[in-house]
Structures are given as C-alpha cells and as structure tokens.
Point group: C2
Chain length 207, copies 2
DNA sequence: GTCTATAGGACGATAGAC
DNA sequence: GTCTATCGTCCTATAGAC
C-alpha cells in the first residue's frame, strides 16, 4: 500500500464502480463529484477517465448492470409452474434480491432523471421487461381462475411498488428476519390478487 | 412587464417556491442552481436571498409545507367511523392528494438525503405522524376483527408504498380515470388486509 | 495507468448602488 | 426589493510527464 503511482487496472475498475455505487446511493449523482469518487478509490480524479469516458457513462453502466443482473436472475425461474407458485416465487425473489442490492436499486429508481434521453430509454426498456415477467404471471393466473384482478397491468405495478418499498425500512438487525418479512408480504400479495370475500367486489363481474 | 428593477415582494416569494418545486422535482435539488431558479422566476440570483437565507432552507420549506398540508388534510377525516370505512377513505385520499401534488411528493421522498440532519429529523417526524394515522386504523380494524393482518406496522408501510407508487405511472390523459384507479387500488388494499380464503394462511392463528 | 497541472466555467452567497 | 459585480470555491474533462 501507500504507493502513489503505477499500474492497477485489474482492481481499479471494480473499485471505481463500487465507490460510485455507494456514493451515488448515499448523496445522489449530481452531488457526487469525480474527485470524491477518486478519493474513495484512492486515485486522482484524472485517472478515472481511463475507465469511463465521462460521469454519465459511469452512472449508466451501474444502472444497466443492475438491470441485467435482475433480469438474468429472474430468467432462471420456472415459467411453467402454477401461477400461484410463480407469484410466491416472484414475491420472495423481488424482496430478497432488492434488499441484497439496496444501493443499486435505489440508484436505478432515483437517478433516472439524470440519464441522457438515450440512456433513459434503454433502462426503461429493461425495467419494463422485468415488469412484464410479473404481468405474465398475473395474466395466466387470471386465465386459470387462480387470481381475480380487474387490471393485471396495474396490479403488476402495485405489487412491485409494495415489495420495493421494503428497501426503505428493512434493517438486517431489525426485529424481523428476511424470511418473516417475505412471508408477511406474500400473505398480503396473495390475498390482494385472489378472489375477495364477496363484500363489495363490484369490479370485473364474471362475464 | 419588462421592468428590470423595483419592488415585487407580494408575488416574488410564491413564484420562487413554485419554480423551486418544479425544478427540484424535475432535475433534483443538487442539479438545480440558485441561478436557474432565479432565471425561471425572472430575477437575478442575488434577489432570492431576500426570501430565503440559503438553498437548503428553500428545500426544507417546500418539504415541510407539503407535509403540513398532508397532515392537515388527513386530520379532517372522521376517526370514529368503522375501520373499513376509514381505510377506504385513506386509500382514496392518499392516491388523490398525492397525484394532485406530484412534484411535492416526489421531492419529499427523493430529496430526504439532501436535508441537513436537523431538517431531516423534522420531516421524518411529520412523515411518521402521517403513517401513524393509517397504522391506528389498521390496529382498530384488527381489534374489531374487520381486518386480519399479522403486523399492522408493516401493513401500513406496504399499503402506503403501493398507493404512492401510483404517482410513477398515472397520467391524467391515460386510459383510466382517477376514480377508476382509486377503486382498483381500494379493491387490492381491502382484500390484502381482510381474512384470507383459508388457503395457506399460516400467519397469526387466532389465539 | 497514474500523476500533476490546468483550461474554462458554474457554483453559493455577499456587498453595495439604486 | 432588485440590480450588478464579485469573492472564493468547486466542477468536468483534458494534456502531457513519467
């Protein structure tokens, strides 16, 4: 340690991404300077430009990598299981995956407005692809009569918003284990999409 | 119009708040300079300091005013109605109020990290006060057996996250009216907090 | 690949004229 | 109450030495 010059390409790149991720999540993209990222990594600001053409590309790269990770993990799930099984899997997966990557999730939501239009469109496409995997499950559950939702698209957005919200309050040293949290949310998600108890269910009467 | 100097205290103050609200929501607090706010208002940057001691106070004032508005509107609701009635009222109120103030809602959530610690604590207290009004409804509904939720605190956060999420996609010229959206969400909220249909309800067995 | 140095500009906030 | 002018600082990105 304590060397002040030399070649470090193998480790500097990942360290830049890790530091940028943490700092962007904590203070916001616009509030974090390239100098601060460099200081966290332990290099001078100019050295960052060996790894990224500019600050915008650094943000976009972090968000894109996160979305691709999310889609890749989601793609491993069985898409032929019963809709109820798939919905539980999605619920538990979304909570757990997002809590494990709280910084990336936070950035991918909060910093959308700091993307250039092209980059924004790319991230939005990826996000919509993820949402579509849930919407498909809900549609199939409606078709099989496992679920009863008046509007699968809105139900998709509602479920994802509810689950993503866990990230705003969950603490690993809190009173509930991750599994308990998953179970509580799964209970609410399941009830929300199945048939109601016939009290004032005025929506989507059977045709 | 087109006068370049003079006294405008009656209108400049509100215009500064309105411009700051819009710009902060669109680009983020850190990305908006005092010069840009001044340009939007139609004054020079120095003039802003007749109305706010600094940029931080401007942000804090917007967030505080929004939270006080929210709490004042919520305080007008009947707190002795049946829990089911109160929950429907909260659901529709939260969606409608937040959609009518999309910029303020967005800022009050996204810019928390740009508040000084003292200001952050103040806003957090106000936010918790609002959440408590819903948690109280859920607790009363559990006591009266109208609701069946294993953890009212988590259900509170889950419901609020789900409802606030409407702001990320709702457009006034979209395919659904505000009332339709409220009804769809109320259907999901109601079902999520009442008793399930006895399939795998392993949580909180009756004592 | 990292350094130092710097170009060229924007930033928050203040001072003093009117 | 608003203006012009400015202080001192910070910014992104680049150039050239090693």
């Amino acid at each position: 340690m304590a060397r002040t010059t030399g070649s470090h390409s193998d480790i500097t790149g990942p360290r830049i991404h890790a530091s940028a991720l943490t700092l962007f999540a904590r203070h916001g993209y616009a509030a974090v300077s390239m100098r601060k990222i460099a200081a966290e990594v332990g290099v001078q600001a100019g050295a960052l430009y060996n790894y990224t053409p500019d600050k915008q590309s650094l943000l976009f790269g972090l968000m894109r990598a996160h979305m691709l990770d999310l889609l890749a993990a989601r793609a491993t799930h069985d898409q032929n299981a019963p809709a109820m099984t798939q919905l539980e899997q999605f619920t538990r997966f979304h909570i757990r995956f997002n809590l494990e990557r709280a910084d990336a999730v936070f950035i991918s939501y909060m910093e959308l407005r700091n993307l250039t239009p092209d980059n924004f469109a790319t991230i939005e496409d990826l996000r919509r692809g993820y949402e579509d995997t849930l919407e498909t499950v809900l549609q199939r559950g409606v078709a099989s009569k496992e679920f009863d939702v008046p509007d699968p698209k809105i139900a998709t957005l509602a479920v994802i918003a509810m689950l993503t919200g866990v990230g705003t309050w969950y603490r690993h040293d809190g009173r509930l284990s991750l599994d308990q949290v998953e179970t509580i949310y799964w209970d609410m998600v399941r009830k929300a999409v199945v048939s109601g108890t016939d009290q004032e269910t005025a929506l989507s009467p059977p045709i």
